[in-house]
């Protein structure tokens, strides 16, 4: 990626977004002193354009747009290694969650559409079935992402081993789960929750 020159001024350092990230994640980005331990232990750092410590540095400088434009946050595996090892108790995994939530809400200009699609289908499945319907999740993902043949070789083996259930048992109490989803939507509409 071509490096853009970073200009810091009162206009470019937008901290109101950063405050939102801090509120959502319950952690302070100002505590980070850039030791780099999070990135050193991150199994996904090699796939990211901004490794975890740089994500925090960019937040400290109010340069959050650079983070949302990239795919780093969508390549976090939520393995919690960073949060576990941080000597200053910066809960980086929660910061990643908060960044993804804000990017998700804004349908942000992310390059990582596959991970977003997988998340979306997963949540839709919960709302429709109450539990995960793995067969449908994989099939719909392949259709919607245009990779019709992805993992095709795995299918027959998984079905003969009983690992892919073609028929799925819906949860019996579906009205209950629908209520949770709609209550949360209403709370957000009324500004009672982020």
């Amino acid at each position: 990626m071509k490096k853009k020159k970073m200009l810091l001024s009162a206009e470019t350092m937008d901290v109101s977004f950063v405050r939102k990230v801090e509120a959502l994640s319950g952690t302070s980005v100002r505590r980070c002193f850039q030791c780099g331990k999070c990135s050193a232990g991150c199994p996904m750092a090699t796939f990211m354009e901004h490794p975890p410590n740089r994500v925090v540095r960019l937040l400290q400088l109010g340069q959050w747009r650079r983070i949302l434009e990239g795919r780093s946050i969508w390549y976090c595996a939520s393995c919690e290694t960073c949060s576990t090892r941080c000597p200053n108790k910066v809960h980086l995994a929660s910061i990643m969650d908060a960044l993804r939530k804000l990017s998700w809400d804004a349908e942000g200009p992310s390059k990582e559409s596959y991970v977003q699609l997988a998340n979306k289908l997963f949540l839709q499945n919960i709302r429709t079935y109450g539990r995960q319907y793995e067969m449908r999740l994989a099939a719909v993902f392949n259709v919607k992402s245009g990779q019709f043949l992805k993992d095709l070789m795995l299918g027959p083996k998984l079905i003969t081993k009983g690992k892919l259930k073609v028929f799925h048992q819906k949860n019996k109490n579906m009205t209950e789960i629908e209520k949770i989803f709609s209550r949360i939507e209403r709370m957000r509409e009324n500004g009672e929750a982020l």
Partner: protein
């Protein structure tokens, strides 16, 4: 002496155990029956939301888990969880809601009920190693796993982050090794037991999973392990189901069976292959088990 308390639990299997990890569910139920530990499935449990929910919608993730904690209250006993990811989400929910009144109130509004924060959520490992105890586990062994060299794979969410799962030390846990030694197996020292396998990227970015899981298989093999043991259906999927694909990409051969913890402990407790779902494993474990005279 009064008879020892009979252990009983509410059981939360999680979605995978009803589909791609059916053998984990089967072997758990059979092993616990054998050990006289009661398991009653939580009625009408929901998906915990796993990684996708907390990835983009923390409130939804907390609410789904809180609902499950509430449902679990209907059944006597602590909550027993088999999947490392469900375990992590349920524990994290208790932890987060215990610390933040604001979030707790939001969640209570979303599920329209109070959230029980004091119920114990336990992973199967915890129940085997601590509630039942290593001594009683040792007594239940009828066929010690002598000569079987096992790489115990913890993955990410069993122990992390600090203070939340509270299962064992975050950087140097030994609980899996302790359980396996109690049933007579050998455990190997290896480098990748806490590294991530790529988890749920298996759907969206399988290339990532291939790269990370290859490192894990490679490390276990070079440490001299005969097989790997896991306590999470996602780790299992990545290491077992994708093993052939990984071998193809890296032009190598592992043929490394990947067992669930309940399968190996069950084997030592005298359960047969059919009761442990061994035929559902993709990498065939039979040659190894026959060679070690365990079947």
């Amino acid at each position: 002496m009064t008879p020892k308390n009979i252990l009983k639990y509410a059981y939360y299997p999680g979605c995978s155990l009803h589909a791609s990890a059916g053998e984990y569910d089967l072997s758990t139920r059979e092993l616990f029956k054998k050990l006289n530990i009661g398991l009653t499935e939580v009625p009408d449990w929901f998906c915990c939301g796993a990684t996708p929910a907390h990835n983009v919608d923390e409130l939804l993730s907390l609410s789904l888990c809180a609902k499950n904690l509430e449902l679990a209250e209907q059944v006597d006993g602590d909550l027993a969880v088999a999947c490392a990811a469900c375990f992590s989400r349920l524990k994290t929910t208790q932890h987060v809601l215990g610390e933040s009144d604001v979030k707790r109130k939001q969640v209570e509004k979303a599920i329209d009920a109070p959230v029980p924060l004091n119920g114990n959520v336990k992973h199967l490992l915890d129940i085997l190693a601590r509630d039942l105890g290593l001594e009683r586990l040792e007594q239940a062994v009828t066929k010690p796993l002598a000569g079987l060299k096992v790489a115990c794979y913890y993955g990410c969410l069993l122990t992390r982050p600090n203070d939340v799962p509270n299962l064992d030390c975050v950087e140097a846990p030994t609980i899996m090794e302790d359980v396996l030694k109690a049933v007579g197996a050998e455990t190997v020292a290896w480098s990748h037991r806490l590294e991530c396998c790529g988890a749920n990227f298996t759907l969206s970015r399988p290339g990532v999973v291939v790269q990370l899981s290859h490192a894990i298989l490679d490390s276990a093999k070079s440490a001299g392990a005969d097989c790997i043991m896991v306590a999470c259906p996602l780790c299992h999927g990545n290491l077992d189901i994708r093993q052939k694909e990984i071998e193809g990409v890296y032009s190598t051969q592992y043929a490394m069976p990947v067992f669930y913890i309940t399968q190996l402990v069950g084997l030592a407790a005298g359960l047969g292959a059919d009761k442990l779902g061994l035929d559902a494993l993709i990498v065939n474990p039979m040659p190894l088990l026959k060679q070690k005279q365990l079947l």
